[in-house]
Symmetry: C2
Subunit: 359 residues, 2 copies
């Protein structure tokens, strides 16, 4: 229902209605000007030709330096979503299945379906801090389980995984020959430090997916990357050669500029989202919603007992606020997701309406 | 061996050796300045957010107008290669097979292999003007044949398909329930008029793949499109949603600017390549090579009886000229492909070396 709400919001807007859009993870801020100017300079310098399906070496080296790996462990992708799809495409075939903790980002499940492979959902609950139960995980694994997908910090809960649980998952995966695909697109702007899958070795079969969209307000530019062992990176590159070929050279130069300024850029982005998250937490608490404190931008995933999330979302849209129903992220009827990606005053107004509708 | 030659050329260059690169279809000219400026203006205007997986409506409308179809028949892709992959991904499963006339663009075969589907090659010969034999085509078809891929004008021969043969292929496909995927990326700058798959109806199951790379010297920008029936376009869009998401909005604005200036831009590009093709034809004829006159940019696919094309290509590289061996395009040992995508004086020098080495 995520896309349905978005289409309805677009339709209402086209009819002249003002909608405050808190339904997508697309930041309201502009891409930082130094990144924009780097793109333009690069186009003018002629970085508009076919280029390497691995990505530009300078960008790969910079990313490798940040993660403490080698450039050969990096491939540049047109958005982190492509990295997820490509990893699943190469890993999951025929009878294999993939385990996904819920609530989850819809794309994981849709990709599995498009590949004709089975998804096994591992439910987590707000009441236990969205913690993965390792015993439950072990019960779900069978001989056809080839991958576990983690989203850390998580969309929609903004919860980071505690180190013990992450280590437990890695141990189980290693002992059963399962690849962990860890989507960490929110980690660089996380409020609290997050353990990465890379902390458990880089010669492993595990894969880190990351992107520039959230960290550098570059959603529409489509640039991300994977970190994995050299063989896997080589195989992704071969897939790139017959699909997307390359991320435009000038977009890679723009991303590199972002990395060079990352301390300032992420610092100000984090501060902005922390402020918004604090405001939202306060208002939602007063109104009696239950939720876990966000460890990272941009989302809150509040619950009210007995709420019909889809009906609530549709009613709210009629009063000019778009959010996403909990059912878009798994079987979470009583939840909804707020994305704090609109100007501050709009967020304040929207929160008041959210609190009104349900009280 | 296409990629191997390219890697070797890059290596020689990195060692300080001058290589004239006629091995790839990447034009030496710059992207036209009006396209570059349109991209920059669009980035500055904030077209850097997530956008529609169908593509921007204005661009789709313009393309629809050019092809005489509706905007609902158009989806924007990150390069025409993605359009080909996505079409094959959605059409070819399990036991199905795809027929590809040879010589072919390597990617078709590699994509089929990546999907685990069988390729049936339909050989054409220079001596019969690279014509597809319809009786041979019918013999190749079985109940699992789901697709025929045409490349019209063809890479590497630069030959356009005669209308009778194209019509014959469409008739056979229609009667056997086979989808024709027609890759026409060279058609807008073809020297001779080319029939399009769209001339045989737009409500058909057939698919046109096209791009901006060759027509507007935008290879590295990665933008192309598919034209097909609405249902198929909707399905490609769903695949886009879980893979590439969207082509950057500012790249779509740049492409739109190209279409608005297409008469001037394609006129001057065509004239330039016609001049190069005439020069190459003259020199190669004098040196005794056999080939068909190119109907379109950028390639010539000459033959010499008894030539070991791979050995020839490697020797030529040692004397500073990179071309592609015929074996990169199917079983064409005695051929090689010259790409006329370098500055004129380099092409003249390279042709002299090509003629020397083999005389």
């Amino acid at each position: 229902m995520l896309y349905e709400i978005n289409e309805k919001a677009l339709k209402l807007e086209s009819e002249g209605k003002k909608i405050i859009r808190l339904n997508l993870g697309d930041p309201d801020m502009a891409t930082p000007p130094e990144i924009v100017e780097a793109a333009y300079a690069s186009i003018k310098a002629g970085k508009t030709k076919y280029s390497s399906s691995y990505g530009e070496l300078r960008l790969r080296q910079k990313i490798a330096e940040i993660h403490g790996v080698k450039a050969e462990n990096i491939v540049i992708t047109p958005g982190s979503k492509w990295g997820v799809f490509a990893s699943m495409f190469l890993t999951l075939k025929g009878d294999s299945n993939v385990i996904i903790p819920t609530p989850y980002w819809t794309a994981y499940d849709l990709i599995a379906k498009s590949l004709g492979v089975k998804t096994k959902l591992l439910r987590t609950e707000m009441e236990t801090g969205w913690k993965v139960d390792l015993a439950e995980l072990e019960k779900l694994i069978d001989t056809n389980t080839k991958m576990i997908i983690l989203n850390n910090p998580n969309n929609p809960t903004s919860k980071t995984m505690d180190p013990q649980t992450l280590e437990g998952i890695v141990k189980i995966s290693n002992s059963r020959g399962i690849i962990v695909l860890s989507d960490e697109v929110y980690s660089a702007i996380s409020f609290t430090p997050t353990k990465s899958i890379l902390d458990y070795g880089t010669d492993s079969p595990h894969i880190l997916s990351n992107g520039f969209s959230k960290t550098f307000t570059m959603t529409g530019w489509r640039i991300g990357y994977l970190v994995a062992n050299k063989l896997f990176i080589d195989n992704i590159t071969k897939l790139n050669q017959i699909t997307i070929n390359n991320v435009p050279g000038f977009i890679q130069d723009a991303a590199l500029k972002g990395l060079e300024h990352r301390a300032e850029i992420t610092g100000s982005i984090k501060a902005k989202y922390k402020q918004r998250a604090d405001l939202a937490s306060k208002k939602l608490s007063v109104a009696g919603f239950k939720f876990t404190q966000p460890d990272a931008p941009f989302y809150l995933f509040p619950k009210r007992d007995g709420l019909d999330g889809e009906k609530f979302t549709l009613n709210l849209l009629d009063s000019g606020v778009a959010v996403a129903p909990g059912t878009s992220f798994g079987d979470y009827q009583e939840h909804f997701r707020i994305s704090l990606t609109a100007p501050d005053e709009q967020i304040a107004t929207a929160l008041d309406k959210i609190c009104e509708v349900t009280v």
